[in-house]
Subunit: 266 residues, 2 copies
Amino acid sequence: MKKQPIGVFDSGLGGLTILNALRRELPKEDLIYFGDTANVPYGSKSKEAVTRFSLAIARFLESQHVKLIIVACNTASAQALTELRKQISVPVMGVIEPGAEKAVSTTRNGRIAVLGTEGTIRSNAYPKAILKRAPKMRVTQQACALFVPLVEENWGKKPAAKLIAQTYLTPIQQSGADTVILGCTHYPILKPVISQILGKRVTLVDSADTLAEAARRFLLQSGQACSTGKGRVQVYASDDPTRFKRLAGYLLADKIGAVRLKKLDL
Amino acid sequence: MKKQPIGVFDSGLGGLTILNALRRELPKEDLIYFGDTANVPYGSKSKEAVTRFSLAIARFLESQHVKLIIVACNTASAQALTELRKQISVPVMGVIEPGAEKAVSTTRNGRIAVLGTEGTIRSNAYPKAILKRAPKMRVTQQACALFVPLVEENWGKKPAAKLIAQTYLTPIQQSGADTVILGCTHYPILKPVISQILGKRVTLVDSADTLAEAARRFLLQSGQACSTGKGRVQVYASDDPTRFKRLAGYLLADKIGAVRLKKLDL
């Protein structure tokens, strides 16, 4: 049991930021990462489509005998988690709950803002998770459709990034939130420009570290943690791995090695 | 034979600009539009994936007894046309050839620039089509990954659009091109900001009108034109039609009526 890998998936490359956190937190675990580059992005697609893609990936990860599946994608966590837990036999963890938990424990003025894709925002998954923990919180949401392409174009440091971020963040500034959830795995790449606009008094919450801690706790508590050796990482993509390898450089300092092509059965 | 519809497809909504031109040019023809909103965008995906999506759509259109298939998507025209023509029994027209033809007949100084998605630019389909017609032309290409999300966010008139366009267009200005192909169906929506940057001496070529003319000629020459009645338009999308309907408003002044969901067999 202890030698089984952990499966991690995302709509594309963004989840590599989560993979990174897992490698730091759980260096002895084998990890399998799946990036659904044939169907990316999930953020602008329907709940039905996102659920169909997510189930196909989870079934592939199950076939690889994973002991735990981590949904690194915020949109898939927001829209497909319930269905995944119904249909998949291994435990499934998403990024919404850890992010909400961290935001609730971070805010001092009870005002939290959420930045995410269209799908994540429309699902209201973050406000629901926050209000379940702390019913008096005030939550503001903002969909930021241009952030993902901005990161994938590697334009995070260009003037256009600042102008785009300013437009999305104006309602957040007006809300008075002191804690802002970066509710998409690509957004941590834009931390410098987001921080610059929001200022030092606003804390940016990125679920990667909280999720990795939660995964470690889960494995320890369930007696499934791997205690020896150095974990290996395998990476799969559902479309041509060439572009994946190139873009991975913007998201992950560590090298990821070979990326294998695995087409999904949809 | 004459009552058969024409099939038009695109990765998503962009092809509605082509549908519009076809309705103007061929008002008596029945048209079936298919937007592959479950798999959009094609621009960042591999040739293999784009071909697979395109074949599935073309087979659906064949099942609807179309007499002609028009590939409204530049990326699919650039990457999948050869394979579509091999595997599909009805004639297939793409947008690259008409666009290249129009650019060659427009330029006065022999310098043409092409703006497109990553996939279209990487395929070199436009330079090949241009140089086949006029081997002495000088062709400059520029991938503009942020243009599609910019249009879909309806930000064409915001300052960010100008800043983004300026970044992409600087090498085009340096090339001295007097003719610029808008090599993606979304880009005509950005004509105002692109024109403002490039100035009046640069002609913007959009393949919609040329393609519609070519389709009309083809139908007349092959005796397949419909000469009576008013054409009907049917619209299908491969993912939830709600978002499609909303975004269609940015791309198409005319109303498109009901949008039906049709999942693809991939």
